[in-house]
């Protein structure tokens, strides 16, 4: 009998990698929507209609403008939560994750399949209603649904090569979303020098932290809200699971588990790029990042993460021509 690890089809690897990304994407969008909705209730007057920034965190401002006239709460919710034509909406992400899961149902566990299917059925049901009964409740359900999927992935599937690809996809997506959020929020918050230290400022910053479920954990570590420390926490923290450094670290670890190359060395371009980014974050100081401009730093991070994604495609998913390699005959 064959007890060596089962090889993983390239098609399957690609499908589970994207499944991980899509689930994480849906969870992030739900959290952003929820936090922003909550924030609007705390603010008043000219501050109370800030739905534009949340669109900017997706990087899809132009797509929104093509499809909707005005930036209202209703339009933003429709666009980000339910729009089937917008490929990064919660609905589209879950549909795509489910389609991928369906195509690899023999690779993932039954529990995982059933959870992604249930989540899809819930969202499809909600999207049929013209009016959303409760945005916070909906967002909560999506987030818990995604977390349950993540938990089932961790607890019911062997931590094998396919699992490594799911983990890698999820954490690269997570690092990407945290970077975007920080970029957009920092850009909005920092220019308003007059507001520094006002209650609004604190409310806004705590919203940034809540957007990544990081408010409580930040408090435990740093206490008072201070922009510099918040940036440090979100980019460079080694323990907070949504910090960029933490996420890249996990993705890098998963990548090495897949290839079997020890960490600190590399056997393919993906490993080289991921390792370089990981070391950069391991040894960075927040003061230097801010001095060089946070926006520039975030931009560069995005470029590096995109490169890693492209390298993964070439190294693992691309179809090799016949005869390039073969299994060692047992």
């Amino acid at each position: 009998m064959n007890h060596s690890p089962q090889p993983l089809l390239s098609r399957v690897a690609e499908a589970v990698y994207w499944m991980g990304r899509y689930i994480e994407r849906a969870e992030n969008v739900a959290r952003f929507l929820d936090v922003n909705h909550n924030l609007m209730l705390d603010l008043s007057g000219s501050y109370s209609d800030q739905w534009q920034p949340i669109i900017d965190t997706t990087g899809d401002r132009a797509r929104f403008q093509e499809r909707y006239d005005t930036v209202t709460r209703e339009n933003v919710v429709r666009f980000l939560a339910f729009d089937p034509e917008y490929r990064n909406s919660i609905y589209s992400s879950i549909v795509a994750a489910r389609e991928n899961a369906r195509s690899v149902r023999e690779t993932i566990s039954s529990e995982m399949w059933r959870q992604i299917n249930s989540l899809y059925l819930m969202i499809a049901e909600e999207s049929r209603d013209a009016v959303l009964a409760s945005l916070p409740e909906f967002c909560h359900q999506v987030r818990m649904g995604c977390h349950l999927f993540e938990g089932l992935t961790h607890g019911t599937m062997s931590h094998n090569e396919a699992w490594g690809f799911i983990t890698m996809g999820r954490h690269l997506e997570r690092a990407d979303k945290t970077t975007r959020l920080l970029d957009v929020k920092y850009f909005i918050l920092l220019p308003s020098v007059s507001d520094v230290g006002t209650p609004y400022d604190d409310v806004q910053w705590s919203a940034v932290l809540k957007s990544v479920s990081g408010f409580e954990m930040y408090r435990k570590k740093y206490g008072r809200l201070a922009p510099e420390r918040i940036v440090e926490f979100l980019v460079l923290d080694g323990e907070f699971p949504r910090a960029v450094r933490y996420s890249i670290g996990v993705a890098d670890q998963a990548l090495h588990a897949i290839t079997g190359t020890p960490r600190g060395a590399f056997s393919c371009a993906s490993e080289q790029r991921a390792g370089m980014l990981r070391s950069e974050l391991d040894f960075a100081r927040v003061e230097a990042i801010l001095a060089g401009g946070l926006h520039e730093f975030c931009d560069a991070l995005q470029t590096k993460m995109n490169t890693i994604d492209e390298c993964i495609l070439v190294d693992f998913f691309a179809r090799q021509p016949a005869g390039t390699s073969a299994r060692a005959w047992a």
């Binding site: 009998m1 064959n2 060596s4 089962q6 090889p7 993983l8 089809l9 390239s10 098609r11 399957v12 690897a13 389609e99 369906r102 195509s103 690899v104 149902r105 023999e106 690779t107 039954s110 399949w113 059933r114 299917n117 249930s118 059925l121 090569e161 897949i258 693992f316 998913f317 179809r319 090799q320 016949a322 005869g323 390039t324 390699s325 073969a326 299994r327 005959w329 047992a330």
Partner: protein, 476 residues
């Protein structure tokens, strides 16, 4: 819900005798259901439907642009087969599959049965599913039908008849396993006091059989080849691959190099030794069969001919699945086994014979006419339910291509009590047992009971509104 107002009418009923008393082997079941308080059964029914939807046990409705997914209707009332009746079915199926394998092997080698004029040679060689390309091939153990899903029906007399052999890529076994799981979860009390033979050993037997036909290599690798996610049986393909712990591959994941088959993995190419293919012959290899096929693997037949990869079921086995050749199966059994068939065929008129054809054309409104090479309830005329126009259409087709048509009397398929709205009604059922054949023959206890959910309908196919029931074989 009560059985008191249930009518068997003029049909053989799986649960009740004509006098309205439950048959002896279902008495306990009738008592269990009778003891439920009002509304319970409907609640179970809704819970089962929700579960099936969540499990994603759905099929896509062809021709529905919204890509609607439907669950395969599942009726909670099991169909029960007593041990001694099953014993005869099991022996009958084993006999039949054994004979059919000998027949196919003969056809692709010496054709003794044709030389002995048991079957006219032109009938066999003109079958659309006869594959010249398979002549002389030697699959392991001379087995061509590794997985079979024979359709059985019970007529008014209570006797089981073989309706179709389904040798090519039979589907439905996943529903047998999932129906049992759903029933155990939703309505566990229904099993009380009965000893029902389990079905969940099937994937293990299937894997064992597939490994047994591998070419002589150490650690053979078995994969399941699916046409892909859009195929109506995709759920089953992924389910079986998952249960066997083997890879589910599509044609694009495979390639042939030096007469060996490889799959593309993240670490390069890996050899494949056995393919449980759920792709029709026609689409297997564009170099040998249909050149426009995108589902298959160029060069696959070459690797197969060279004995470097095993295919189950063996290409070309459909020759014994042709509906005209079906009519000769009793003769085939006598010829190869030297014994009478244990399970009878449904009497069949072959339109290529002048006398049969005349009879068929004169009695179209009473008969079921089938095209020789179609399945899934397509290409079929159910005489008593047909319009004059449909009959005229078939008369023309039969006259033009007599070889392609057979006709059978319209059977009064047996019925089983089925939940309809808030009460029980009789619905026609058939039975598709599954048989595995490698070195030895294994018959899965029970099989898929398909139910024609529409009142009066005789068509049980899922593509045409059919549902299913869990099927129990009692241990004693």
């Amino acid at each position: 819900m009560r059985f008191s107002s249930y009518q068997t009418e003029e049909f053989y009923d799986e649960m009740f005798q004509p006098d309205g008393c439950p048959r002896p082997h279902v008495r306990l079941l009738v008592d269990t259901i009778g003891a439920l308080s009002e509304g319970h059964l409907l609640r179970y029914k809704h819970a089962a439907e929700r579960l099936l939807l969540q499990m994603g046990i759905t099929f896509n409705v062809y021709g529905d642009s919204a890509g609607t997914e439907r669950i395969f209707p599942f009726d909670l009332i099991p169909r029960i087969i007593p041990a001694e009746e099953w014993d005869r079915i099991e022996r009958g199926l084993a006999q039949r599959i054994h004979a059919l394998n000998l027949f196919i092997d003969d056809i692709y080698h010496e054709q003794k049965i044709l030389k002995d004029s048991v079957i006219p040679a032109e009938i066999v060689l003109s079958a659309a599913s006869y594959r010249q390309q398979c002549q002389g091939l030697n699959p392991p153990f001379h087995v061509w039908c590794h997985v079979t899903g024979t359709d059985l029906v019970r007529d008014r007399d209570g006797q089981f008849y073989v309706l179709e052999d389904n040798l090519r890529v039979p589907s439905g076994v996943s529903y047998v396993l999932e129906n049992r799981e759903v029933l155990k979860r939703i309505f566990p009390g229904v099993f009380d006091g009965l000893s029902v033979r389990p079905v969940n050993g099937y994937p293990g037997f299937l894997l064992e059989m597939l490994e047994s036909i591998a070419p002589p290599v150490s650690n053979p690798r078995v994969v399941l080849l699916t046409p892909g996610i859009h195929n109506s049986a995709y759920f089953e393909h992924s389910f079986l691959a998952q249960q066997m712990g083997i890879q589910l591959v599509e044609g694009r994941d495979l390639l042939v190099s030096g007469q060996e088959v490889f799959m593309r993995t993240t670490k390069g190419l890996e050899r494949v030794d056995v393919i449980y293919r759920r792709v029709d012959d026609d689409f297997l290899d564009p170099e040998v069969f249909r050149s426009d096929s995108l589902l298959g693997v160029p060069g696959l037949m070459g690797a197969y001919r060279a004995g470097r990869v095993a295919l189950a079921n063996a290409p070309g086995n459909g020759v014994a699945d042709d509906k005209v050749i079906y009519a000769y199966v009793p003769e085939i059994i006598r010829y190869y086994e030297g014994e009478d068939p244990i399970l009878p065929n449904v009497p069949t008129y072959m339109c290529w014979r002048d006398t049969d054809r005349r009879y068929v054309l004169e009695h179209l409104s009473e008969l079921v006419v089938k095209s020789a090479n179609e399945s899934g309830g397509y290409g079929m005329l159910v005489g008593p339910h047909s319009t004059a126009e449909q009959r005229a259409d078939f008369a023309e087709k039969i006259a033009a291509h007599p070889r392609n048509y057979i006709a059978q009397p319209t059977l009064a398929l047996s019925r089983a009590p089925t939940i309809v709205d808030d009460h029980f009604e009789g619905r026609h059922v058939d039975l598709r047992p599954y048989v595995l054949c490698g070195k030895e023959i294994y018959v899965l206890p029970g099989g898929l009971t398909r139910v024609a959910m529409r009142k009066g309908s005789l068509v049980v196919n899922s593509s045409q509104g059919g549902g299913s029931k869990d099927t129990w074989v009692l241990a004693s």
